[in-house]
Symmetry: C2
Subunit: 365 residues, 2 copies
DNA sequence: CACGAGCATGTTTACGTGAACATCGCGAGC
DNA sequence: GCTCGCGATGTTCACGTAAACATGCTCGTG
């Protein structure tokens, strides 16, 4: 497993200046330039180098210049492992997620990374191939050993509910899109509000009721949207049609659309995401059901493409950037206050973007 | 900035067992459980703890059990900073990228993260908000200070061309989607082949020529596709229509589509990505140009949604997962062999996915 | 002119881990 | 019965950094 035991530590007593140039990086082992090397070359103590490197005051101009020159010559870069060891923190936030492919995740992660970077934190990604209990567990364990000060979880957390799962104690955690607000600090889009907006919009246009294409059963976001859809209909005293089950993919939306196209009473559909709405549009188009003249469609997410669907999609806009921002805020607060993950859910509002896929229902003959 | 200097080092002589439970993580500073703590509780030396932690042989069953019990009780997790310092490597790969939003990037990153994880490496993301020379530079510097063993760059590298940019020497680098194959190790989709496939497909269907909607000028991938498009037309002895310039967004494709709808001679369009193709479809639909009866459209990327466009899009499939896999392979090879970045370009093949957006041109009256 | 304040710089040390080397104890072989 | 050998465990040290403390010099002031 580690066949090179003794050869590893060659301490490169050759001076080190060879590394400075543009040449091939010496081949052998790590032995990156250390402060001591720089100090030796500059003729100062390593502490002075440290002071220069960190911009501490109390180093006179000439000395500083000398040190800087030595740094340049040797190509010195601070060793973050040593730094982290010294300081006890890594300036890194871990992100555990299921897949980057799903619409919102990549945008959330991007926002997280951006805001974290602005605060001087880097992002370490741990993807989970298949969201097995075991895999998630494993990721947490691995993450625990990883160089992170806090963790943001972007997985349907109820996958981890069963019994034994305990996030490593003492690790700051913020969870996205979850019902675990009673145990963790949760940031989420206000799914319920979004779904309600969609349903209300369609009812206000005069539709008798609204059909629904759900996300996968495993998705908490999808569940909440479906729940809010049902509630909005019930509050309005409307019949609740049986929901059709999708899996977020356009294909599944297409399948649902083919089924719905055969429902003569169906004049309005709320799809739990834009991809599935795209599938609906295709199905309705193929079946000769005009959107929005015969049937109205509302999506969820407001992906950039939605404005170029045929017809441009009315949808619920999610502010992924804001979700990411609040996640970072949340973990940073925990890190700085030193407190534990304070349970509670923060909701990011949504808004309805009305485009051309919705209209009043056709007048019934 | 750091007002708690002296208070920091409280060595928690209280035993440490308090941390084990589920309670609030003590509040105070890091002082995570160290091997010494575990050793104390287990009544052994810290070296024995180390041996148990690393699965080294030479620890008798009873002792091992004792140590494991102590670990559990204290909630011990190894300190990766110390480990990294000791070993001189971090088991982490840095990924510098421009944006996660763009189609392929998130999928490439996901593949990178997955394969890296399989090899025991974590991924550290450094996003660059605006791809300024300065920002990229800054990211590299930061990355240099970061705890990474190698770096994968997913930015249009020609942004960094101007003069002074030198990646920190001795850092292993693989670049995605770049023309820097002469200086760095590059992995890329075979853009030229993909574009040629698209053009050939359309010409073979009988179209006189093929129009093109490009990506942004700053994109190397887009440039290569445009170049290959032009070349394929010239090789076939066809006229080369003026390319229309897009920016990857569906909206820009829509704008291009509106323009193209007014070109009576235009019967086939090759869009440099699927989003822009979507925009084309919308524009043609609005202008009453039937796809594919009147006009054929080919995209690039094969995003999952493409099969549900109206009509389903004929497009060039990119294997992002394979790109990610090769990136990881590349950096790992460099890390293990200890060599520098060996310049050269690895191309991942593409394939044409024919759906329903292409057909022979309408018979000219 | 002497002495002390203040500042530039050097020295020591600890952070947590694990390799290398040291030690201790026990059983086997002579 | 004594010693040798080996396996289990302990001790020392270095990794690179930076805080804390120590030193030594200069300049200002009485």
């Amino acid at each position: 497993m580690d066949p090179d035991g003794p050869a590893r530590q060659v301490p490169a007593p050759t001076g080190g200046a060879q590394r400075g140039g543009s040449g091939i990086p010496g081949g052998r082992r790590k032995q990156r330039v250390s402060m001591a090397d720089v100090a030796r070359l500059a003729g100062v103590s390593s502490q002075t180098v440290s002071r220069v490197a960190n911009g501490h005051p109390g180093v006179v101009g000439a000395t500083r210049e000398q040190v800087l020159a030595a740094m340049r010559e040797l190509g010195y870069r601070p060793n973050s492992a040593a730094r982290a060891l010294r300081y006890g923190q890594f300036n890194t936030i871990g992100v555990i997620l299921f897949g980057l492919a799903s619409t919102g995740n990549s945008r959330t992660v991007e926002a997280i990374a951006t805001h974290a970077a602005a605060e001087g934190y880097a992002i370490t990604l741990i993807p989970i191939g298949i969201p097995t209990q075991d895999n998630v567990l494993g990721a947490f364990t691995r993450m625990g050993e990883l160089a992170v000060d806090a963790v943001i979880v972007i997985i349907e957390i109820h996958l981890l509910d069963a019994g034994t799962v305990t996030l490593p104690p003492g690790v700051h955690v913020v969870v996205v899109d979850s019902d675990a607000g009673d145990r963790y600090s949760v940031v989420d889009t206000d799914q319920a509000e979004g779904a309600r907006l969609a349903v209300r919009h369609l009812l206000d246009l005069g539709h008798e009721t609204v059909w629904h294409v759900t996300g996968p059963k495993t998705s908490f976001a999808g569940q909440r949207r479906a729940q809010a859809w049902r509630l909005a209909l019930e509050e309005a005293g409307r019949p609740v049609p049986p929901p059709l089950h999708g899996d977020w993919s356009a294909e599944s939306g297409y399948a649902a659309g083919l089924a719905l196209a055969g429902e003569p009473g169906c004049t309005a559909v709320f799809a739990s995401n834009d991809q599935m709405a795209l599938g609906l549009l295709r199905a309705f188009h193929e079946r000769g059901r005009a959107v929005p003249a015969d049937i109205s469609v509302v999506g969820f997410d407001d992906i950039p493409d939605a404005s170029c669907f045929v017809p441009p999609l009315t949808t619920v806009h999610q502010d992924f950037a804001e979700v990411g921002r609040r996640c970072v805020q949340g973990v940073l607060r925990q890190i700085r206050e030193g407190g534990a993950s304070r349970p509670g859910t923060e909701l990011v509002p949504t808004r309805l973007v009305v485009r051309e896929s919705t209209a009043p229902p056709p007048t019934r003959p």
